[in-house]
Amino acid sequence: MKKDKLYDIFLFIVDNLIWVFVVVALLVFSLISKNFFTPFNLVNILSRVAPLALLVIGQSFTLITANFDLSSESTMGFTAMVAALLLASQKNGGLGLEINPFLGILIMLLVGGAIGAFNGIFITRFGMNNFIMTVAMLMILRGATYAISPGKSVNFLPPEFDWLGGGALFRIPSGDGKFLAVPVSMFFVIVAFIVAHIVTKYTRFGRDMYAVGSNRQAAEAAGIDSKRIVTIVYIISGLCAALAGLLDAGRMDSATPRTGAGLIFPVQAAAVIGGISLFGGRGNLIGAFGGVLLWGILDTGLNIAKVSPFWIEVSRGALLLFAMFIDALKVRYLRRMALRKVLAASTIGLKDPLLQVE
């Protein structure tokens, strides 16, 4: 079989575009600011965006099946608040139960998973639109987080709880008598991405996800239970959001009613710019990791360059729009390539080809 070279090259470029962005961003910030390319910063890029990274993993899973989970930032905030209330002493804003930290983590994960299951079941069994359902959940959970919180942050959580998000795995002497702490969260994120990559690429479940996202009818015809797959994917997304809450609360040593608020925006941007398509069935977790890295670099870099918060906010909005635009362009182009073949094959003959593309 002869291969369509142009198509292959195009596919290779769009699949790996994110790494070009990452390298360019690193170079640009290194040139702009001398303070950027330091061991301290590089180590911190990943730990700064660790909660985001976990949300991106969950979002990637749902996006691959052609669904959205817009509720994850609220799930993150809600689970963090639940755990903090159970863990913190009364004077620090908690309920004063001060339960075992590991039990707290377990409860967090259970709550996160339950929220995901709730989303998944409403979407697959009751025919709710995934957008409406998860936006409703986004707002309801944020309201609930405010309602259960004491109206301010809950502080001073036990060190065992904080370890994953804020602990240091080891310290490297950095010459001037100080130590460079290598955060646990950095390794956790990397491990999480490796696990997620293996699940999506090398398990039947992972491949079923892609099949469902690529063409649900065809997947069902092949005997794949799409409802089951989508429900599980939402549970995974809920669990990832709870882990994100754990990382964030651990790093800050507190949970606030606003924990996670507004994160869904960068989450989408990072996933999409990393090549996970909003239209389902495309992209991989390595690319998504690239998206997270890029977001971290921009975040750290813009901060160090002392860009005003206003412009940071604007640039984030622009990045999301850009990512979505690229994605739409990519999918449209791929479809058009397929179409052009049809047209090239026959001068005249297809029933309204252009009408069927839209």
Binding site: K3, T203, G206, R207, A218, G223, A338, V342, I348
Partner: protein, 514 residues
């Protein structure tokens, strides 16, 4: 049922199916043998799709028997059809485009190693071997969207066979293919046939039926005309079987005047139509017919501004005419009745009243720029009476009317703009016989008021009854013209032209493809 010879795969006996107002199938038989390619032909509305839908379990049947592999099945469900080994391959194959060929073949059943992880090397090897057994060489690592159309079709057939299909329904598989690709597809189909796979082959391209099929079943108006050995037929004969004896639905008096209202000169849009020129006179009804993809349908949409028009000139009432949007076309005096009335014609959940006045709202505003109910009701009442639209009240949702009345609502909407040219796309599709006659009468009436009418239709008999002239498009060009009343204006000749031949050299056409 053991009396049947063992190599009969499918037997459909005395199949009847009625829809409200229409007998879609009446006592139809169809027998398909192992290793046979069985053609199924008939004009639009002859009942091919309904018959296949029954076979696939999408429609229930009113009476008749279905015997698959010697087993009697009274009411087929889609799952039963699938399990019995019946698969359907549509014209536009839809697969998991963003995934590899191997994954599409093995979906839901990928091989795993002892750690429970997908063994990709084994998967690729397995997929390659399976395809190889069918004589199909595809790069299994390629994503499906990177394949050509013919490869996707062949892959879809292969996939059906891997899930144990024994009878494959091919619905217009060649419509989007070049000649070389058709050869490849036919080669593949023949090699599968030699392995004992049976095919039902639906096509409007009759020459292909002669090329690939062993037997052919002809349907006409829901009746079975017969099943024939292909070698006993030729194209003109087959067309006669499809058309039947000539009964005109309707006869009209020509009201054609001399003034030209629509003139199209050298209109070309690559991939759709090329160098199309024709005129429509005041009060004239012109028919335009052609196979799917011949360009007739695209031409209608383009003139109305729904699609790009391409290059070339169009004159309307002596003035150059362009329309970038339907609004512009309507304002300049060109109205269009779309083929898909559910999608383009009507706003189903809104009342009849609103649907009739959508096109002329700007004429019904009062001093406050609000819609004047008095003026609106006058217009609505006038058209409901004139076109005899049957509805409980003007406030009834238009989606709840019968097909014929829905079509009349669209006519009312278009006539209200007082156009000089009216383009109708399959105006009588899916409506019952009485409503059809009503529609013809409305067309007649509009023409006698001086409107130039262009009917794009594949119903040759309908065109013969109502048109002054009939143009035929083939592969994007106008290939023939028939005038009402001339001796060569017969359904057979027109259908032959639609199929790509012409009356004078039909023998040549048959010879080329046989």
């Amino acid at each position: 049922m053991e009396t049947l010879s063992s190599n009969v795969i499918l037997e459909m006996k005395g199949i009847s199916k009625a829809f409200p107002g229409v007998q879609a199938l009446n006592n139809v038989d169809l027998t398909v043998l192992e290793g046979e390619i069985h053609g199924l032909v008939g004009k639009n509305g002859a009942g091919k799709s309904t018959l296949m839908a029954i076979l696939m379990g999408l429609h229930s049947l009113d009476s008749g028997e279905l015997i698959i592999n010697g087993r009697l099945i009274t009411n087929v469900t889609p799952r039963e059809a699938l399990e019995a080994g019946i698969a359907y391959v549509p014209q536009q194959v839809r697969m998991m485009d963003s995934l590899t060929v191997a994954e599409n073949i093995l979906a839901g059943n990928l091989p795993v190693n002892r750690f429970g992880l997908v063994d990709w090397e084994a998967a690729f090897k397995d997929a390659e071997e399976r395809l190889h057994r069918l004589g199909l060489e595809l790069d299994v690592r390629q994503r499906v969207e990177g394949l050509g159309v013919v490869e996707q079709t062949m892959l879809a057939i292969a996939k059906a066979l891997f899930s144990n299909a024994r009878l494959i329904i091919l619905d217009e598989p060649t419509a989007a293919l070049a000649r070389a690709d058709i050869e490849r597809l036919f080669g593949f189909i023949r090699s599968l046939k030699n392995m004992g796979v049976a095919f039902i082959y639906i096509s409007h391209h009759l020459e292909e039926v002669f090329e690939i099929c062993d037997r052919v079943t002809v349907l006409r108006n829901g009746q079975q005309v017969g099943t024939y050995e292909v070698k006993d037929l030729d194209i003109p004969h087959l067309i006669r079987l499809m058309v039947g004896e000539e009964i005109r639905d309707y006869e009209r008096q020509s009201t054609c005047q001399d003034e030209v209202v629509l003139e199209v000169r050298g209109l070309t849009r690559r991939g759709h139509y090329e160098d199309v020129s024709f005129t429509v006179r005041k009060g004239e009804v012109v028919g335009l017919s052609g196979l799917a993809g011949s360009g007739a349908a695209a031409l209608g949409r383009a003139l109305f501004g729904l699609e790009r028009r391409g290059v070339g000139e169009v004159w309307l009432k002596g003035k150059p005419f362009t329309a970038k949007s339907p609004r512009e076309a309507l304002d300049k005096g060109l109205a269009y009745l779309p083929q898909d009335r559910y999608r383009f014609g009507l706003v189903g959940i809104r009342p009849v009243r609103e649907n009739i006045t959508y096109t002329i709202l700007h004429q019904l505003l009062n001093a406050l720029r609000f819609v004047s109910f008095r003026k609106e009701n006058e217009v609505v009442q006038k058209y409901i009476e004139a076109l005899e639209i049957v509805c409980t009240s003007p406030e009834q949702r238009v989606g709840l009317l019968s097909g014929g009345n829905q079509q009349k609502v669209i006519f009312a909407k278009l006539a209200a703009t007082r156009p000089s040219v009216l383009i109708l796309h399959e105006p009588t599709q899916g409506i019952d016989v009485r409503a059809k006659l009503d529609i013809y009468r409305i067309v007649d009436e509009l023409a006698s008021q001086g409107i130039g009418v262009l009917i794009i239709s594949s119903e040759v008999r309908e065109l013969l009854g109502v048109c002054d002239r009939i143009l035929v498009m083939y592969k994007g060009r106008i290939s023939a013209e028939f005038r009402s009343g001339e001796p060569q204006t017969t359904p057979e000749n027109i259908l032959l032209a639609i199929e790509g031949g012409n009356a004078h050299d039909q023998r040549q056409v048959a010879a080329v493809y046989s």
